[in-house]
């Protein structure tokens, strides 16, 4: 009986860890820095992605459909305050680097960094950190089961 109780407690202890594993980069970033900077986060959920897939625009465009079918959720984080752009960008890069076992650097250049979370040949998450033309900091966070070719397919839409 006591062993069973300890077993249940151990399983209960694993639940927060499992919940944390199901968190994407943008939501983690928002949890860490969202209340310090005026960050706006727009979310498209898996349920909304399914509805988007049913739109005529998507159904009749094979290229778009192929790309969208690989996506499950999207989050766009924007920081309108350009004074914080450098700081927010550095914090996002630090977060990715601190989780380097989860997020591998895919590409980087000035004002743009791409990190991916992969399993085998599949990209489960694509994180794009960028500074746009208005000098605002943005995070584009895609999750899904994306192929290695996903970015090329995006470019070809």
């Amino acid at each position: 009986m006591r062993t069973l109780l300890v077993l249940l407690l151990a399983l209960a202890g694993l639940l927060p860890a499992a919940a944390q594993r199901g968190e994407d980069f943008a939501s983690r970033y928002m949890a860490l820095y969202g209340d310090r900077a005026a960050l706006a986060c727009k979310t498209i959920s898996p349920a909304m992605m399914e509805r988007i897939m049913k739109l005529d625009t998507v159904r009749h465009d094979a290229g778009t459909r192929r790309v969208f079918a690989q996506l499950r959720s999207i989050r766009f984080v924007t920081a309108p305050d350009t004074a914080l752009t450098r700081q927010l960008y550095a914090q996002a890069e630090d977060l990715a680097r601190h989780n380097r076992r989860r997020y591998a650097a895919y590409a980087d250049r000035d004002n743009l960094s791409i990190y991916v979370r992969r399993r085998g040949n599949v990209l489960l998450e694509l994180v794009v950190l960028l500074v746009d033309e208005k000098r605002q900091f943005n995070i584009l966070n895609f999750t899904g089961t994306m192929s290695e070719d996903f970015i090329r397919q995006v470019l070809n839409i």
Partner: protein, 172 residues
């Protein structure tokens, strides 16, 4: 030796006329090792009480009685100090059980999904939509992808600070 007095006492004893003091005299007399042959037949009668008083229960009496009654002896529970190792043993057992279950689960999952795509392992309930209208959401998504296209497109890549081409080491 004259045993007249003893014989008189015996006669009185048979008629239940002896006093306790006289009966004690008889008992003492017959307790001696040398009792005349004519009186020895009464010896057992007077030493009986003393002999029976000396009869004691044997050391194995309880055990024999319990055995006869068919009852098992209760196990003796001895208090032993509980060491830290003994105390956390259930925790180790539980951890081992969890590890075995997790290992078997993972192994079976891998066996069944060897060729399947890895599962999307995010918590779908954590996504609260910012849009109600799928058309609006589509436009936002399209804008996002357009931004990605602009950033990664060929004209941008051609700039001097173009993106470092990711190699296999980066990807792993």
């Amino acid at each position: 030796m004259d045993y007249k007095y003893i014989e008189q006492l015996l006669d009185r004893y048979w008629t239940c006329s002896t006093t306790p003091a006289e009966e004690r005299i008889l008992r003492d007399f017959f307790s001696q090792p040398d009792v005349p042959a004519s009186l020895s037949r009464y010896k057992d009668l007077f030493v009986y009480e003393r002999r029976q008083a000396e009869v004691r229960l044997g050391a194995d009496f309880d055990e024999r009685l319990l055995r006869l009654a068919g009852a098992e002896e209760k196990p003796v529970v001895k208090a032993r100090p509980l060491t830290l190792r003994r105390r956390v043993r259930p925790l180790f057992r539980a951890a081992a059980a969890v590890a075995i279950v997790a290992l078997l689960g993972t192994a079976s999952q891998r066996a069944f999904r060897r060729d399947a795509q890895p599962a999307w392992d995010y918590n779908a309930a954590a996504y609260q939509d910012s849009y109600d209208n799928p058309q609006e959401a589509y436009e936002v998504l399209d804008d996002g992808l357009q931004e990605l296209r602009d950033l990664l497109g060929p004209e941008r890549s051609a700039q001097p600070d173009s993106a470092r081409v990711p190699n296999q080491a980066d990807r792993r």
